[in-house]
Symmetry: C2
Subunit: 327 residues, 2 copies
């Protein structure tokens, strides 16, 4: 196991920041319903396997989180992310034999749906002369994939979809997911592709009613969101295989930032991506490796997530074997 990083003082500060965050968060709606679905999903997939040791389960997080500025939320700060990486990776994880918990931002890309236009119902369908509905020829393949493959994954119990909007919902749900994931030990993976807010306004500091406009300047003060990656690794699910992401627009600082995150949060790998080239290549940074992964450009429809998930799946298998040997 990786050693926890930082002094005892830092840990105490982090613990109190984490406590303050969760104490300040509004209660999660449907909490019991989510727990029930999760337990059922993990139980089902822990048992079902050809070799009798249960499937590997990955929690893929996807899309951006919002930080509300008012309790009756009209205004919020949003961290934009389409969710393309998370949705695509989910498809390849399913292909690689994983069961996937897809923790996604409402309205972000869904697995098997990324070839669809923005407003698929209105764009992909048309009315016939007899006023029946039919798929437009140009979209017939994309629509079929979306509906057939997506429903097959959900219906067969291999894909559990859980939506969030705010940073409060996201972190509360991640904590809830980590509980049953902890029980399956090293077979659990966290693939943290969501763009999580770095800053938030504590719930108690927010005004209740809508902020009134006027001729003044609006001064919004946001405090840092506690570094939950550390807590996930140290307390929530210490045996799970953890992958985080680093996205920068400035390639000069990217690899150093990724290396820094790897060490600071004791991740097993950090996927470094630069905004402008992120669909072509990424660099997987581990403690003793820096592996550039590229999509196969000779195939028009290959994705960088194809070799990326293959690599991570291999690393995860090796990690499970190592963990089993050490028991």
């Amino acid at each position: 196991m990786d050693a926890p990083n930082g002094s005892q003082d830092t840990e105490q500060t982090l613990d109190s920041q984490v406590k303050a965050f969760f104490d300040s968060a509004p209660p999660l709606q449907n909490r019991n319903d989510i727990i029930q679905k999760l337990n059922h999903f993990i139980q089902l997939n822990s048992l079902s396997s050809e070799n009798g040791i249960g499937k590997r389960i990955v929690c893929v997080t996807s899309g951006g989180t919002t930080a509300p500025l008012e309790q009756r939320c009209v205004r919020y700060v949003d961290n934009f992310s389409s969710g393309h990486r998370g949705a695509t990776s989910t498809e390849y994880f399913l292909k690689a034999g994983y069961a996937v918990i897809f923790l996604y931002r409402r309205g972000s890309f869904q697995p098997f749906c990324r070839s669809l236009p923005d407003d698929p119902l209105l764009e992909c369908f048309e009315a016939t002369e007899g006023l029946n509905i039919q798929v437009r020829e140009a979209y017939s393949k994309a629509v079929k994939t979306a509906i057939v493959d997506h429903h097959a994954a959900v219906d067969s119990g291999l894909l559990l979809k859980l939506p969030f909007s705010t940073i409060f919902e996201y972190l509360q749900m991640l904590q809830i997911i980590s509980k049953p994931m902890k029980d399956i030990g090293p077979r659990a993976m966290f693939y943290l592709a969501a763009a999580v807010s770095d800053f938030y306004v504590p719930w108690k500091d927010m005004v209740e009613h809508k902020i009134q406009s006027g001729s003044h300047i609006l001064d919004v003060k946001l405090v840092p969101v506690p570094k939950m990656l550390s807590v996930l690794r140290k307390d929530w699910a210490p045996l799970a295989f953890c992958i985080s992401f680093k996205l920068e627009t400035d390639s000069n600082i990217l690899l150093n930032k990724a290396r820094g995150a790897l060490e600071k949060y004791s991740m097993h790998a950090v996927v470094a991506n630069e905004l402008s080239t992120r669909k072509e290549q990424v660099v997987v940074v581990t403690i003793d490796d820096k592996i550039t992964v590229q999509r196969d450009k000779s195939k028009a429809d290959d994705d960088v997530e194809n070799p990326l998930i293959k690599l991570l799946s291999q690393r995860h298998s090796a990690y499970i074997e190592d963990s089993n040997r050490m028991r």
Copy 2:
């Protein structure tokens, strides 16, 4: 005509704020394409009418605007609005014989689609045993309405849809739309249901790259968005019939705020709505009236927009007659 409100000083300040806003805005993409579509739409509908004087044309704005915090936009402040009011009103304006320019936030509700679930493609369709696609029984009516009625409105040239995301895009597009609308005089209506940001960060004050996280507090200073309603009424389209909206969570201040907006921006009517009851009733505030409009509760599928658009359409007709008499 209503008299412009405020002293010469205030006007000069507003003019300089408006100039600063547009000078600071990033150039609108597809500007020429939008202008071409608009001119074609307004020309078509100005000519086509049974009585030879052309249709009435309304610009319905809908959904919330975003204020970016970074030039390469990852983070932004969002003003939440589902766009339900704008989408529903568009359906009733079409029924009342208007041609509609629907200026909407990407991803917000679309006309004829409000009975659909969040993710209609995945929710409303299923695969048959032969792997064909069919509409789920429970959604067959909603899907048919969405596709048949929506496409009929667009294909017959009565509905022009123009999407925006940022406050910069929204206000630039509103200005562009007002140009050909000015030419049709009092037959033009602006129905401003969008939830427009009150504050923004001027483009030149933004950092280019992603704001780095850390242990510090993020202090975001936003300046007021200039009151474009005044400019729309005074300069952009002085003869158009103008409706704005006032939404408050606090019912005690609502009617005074609505009355204030009516006078300050010389609107022809302000629709006052309270967050918790806005789908049941609204109050239409005019210079000499305060009319409560309620949906017909004896009909399960009646909307408050039904009597609201009937009332506004009558007022608009009276306004056109008055304007014609005064010529």
